[in-house]
């Protein structure tokens, strides 16, 4: 049923491979801190390897403009009424982006923990970002997203003293729907934990 999308996703992966490049599909609910995480990641990676961004939102190019200020190329994809990116949208974004050889292409999906889980974009890995200002039980409420993820980043850990969030229980819930997950805790604001995220990217 998703054969057409999956075929284009395979083409995207092959297209990236020819450039020795990879893509990461970043998914979360709105407001988890994906864009702040990307800002810091792009600045940190700039010294190591080329990076570029495909930014998906229903409307506006605010996030792409914000990320371009880090010096990395970024293209905005507006899905309009659509609730997720698909492989065809990413294919046209990749050709506009024209990422350099060896690049990491961060694909920031539309903020939504339901629909994006179903669509292969041609990424190497799926990354789900949640934050400690959300509920501990989020992995159980949105199991399909967590079941599809390779990595879960729990963001905003600098706020842990102020919120009622149980890190261990959240990790347990996430592993209940996906035993093979990698979990990392980070703060995109303070930089806490980010070296492990960079190492995870480098190891792909």
């Amino acid at each position: 049923m998703l054969a057409k999308n999956d075929a284009i996703a395979r083409d995207n992966r092959a297209w990236l491979r020819k450039r020795d490049a990879i893509a990461l599909n970043l998914m979360s609910s709105p407001g988890s801190g994906k864009t702040t995480l990307l800002e810091r990641t792009l600045v940190a990676l700039a010294r190591v390897r080329p990076a570029a961004v495909i930014e998906g939102d229903q409307a506006t190019s605010l996030d792409a403009e914000r990320l371009r200020r880090t010096g990395a190329p970024a293209v905005q994809v507006n899905t309009g009424a659509g609730c997720h990116l698909d492989a065809a949208l990413v294919r046209s974004a990749l050709s506009r982006l024209d990422p350099p050889a060896g690049a990491v292409v961060f694909v920031e999906n539309v903020g939504n923990l339901v629909c994006p889980a179903m669509f292969d974009l041609g990424e190497q890995r799926k990354v789900v970002v949640i934050s400690v200002t959300e509920g501990t039980d989020k992995p159980l409420k949105y199991p399909y997203m967590f079941a599809a993820a390779d990595l879960v980043l729990i963001n905003k850990i600098d706020l842990l003293p102020y919120v009622d969030f149980d890190l261990d229980l959240c990790a347990k819930h996430a592993r209940a729907v996906n035993p093979d997950l990698t979990l990392l805790t980070v703060s995109a604001t303070t930089g806490d934990g980010l070296p492990s995220w960079y190492e995870w990217i480098a190891a792909i």
């Binding site: 049923m1 998703l2 054969a3 057409k4 999308n5 659509g82 609730c83 997720h84 698909d86 339901v114 629909c115 889980a117 179903m118 669509f119 159980l140 199991p143 399909y144 079941a147 592993r175 209940a176 729907v177 996906n178 035993p179």
Partner: protein
């Protein structure tokens, strides 16, 4: 509403095989673990099929129950929800069925 894109993809695929022949029925297999809601597929199907040779076709959806096997105790069991947990307490569980998303058959002519 990812079901709208998925239904569009199904109808595109059906149209590419049907040519100019009228399509009377389409049968799908949808796994219980796929985050696809059969009722939404049905709702979208009539909208997407309108104005094509698929218009008016019956949509038949077989939902495949989720099955899993426990790597710790070796038992196979039905999964009532996406939480991968065996009655023995182990979460080291592999999914055997429930992730299908297939166009099984179509009736044309």
């Amino acid at each position: 509403m990812h079901e709208l894109s998925i239904t569009q993809s199904v109808v595109d695929e059906v149209l590419s095989r049907a040519g100019s022949r009228r399509v009377h029925a389409v049968r799908l297999q949808v796994g219980a673990l796929t985050a696809v809601v059969p009722a939404s597929l049905e709702f979208c199907f009539d909208l997407v099929a309108a104005g094509t040779v698929v218009e008016g076709a019956r949509l038949e959806i077989d939902v495949t129950p989720a099955r899993a096997a426990c790597r710790a105790c070796g038992v196979s069991f039905d999964l009532p929800d996406p939480v991968l947990l065996c009655a023995c307490g182990s979460a080291d569980v592999s999914v055997l069925a429930g992730r299908e998303l297939k166009i099984v058959s179509m009736e044309v002519g």
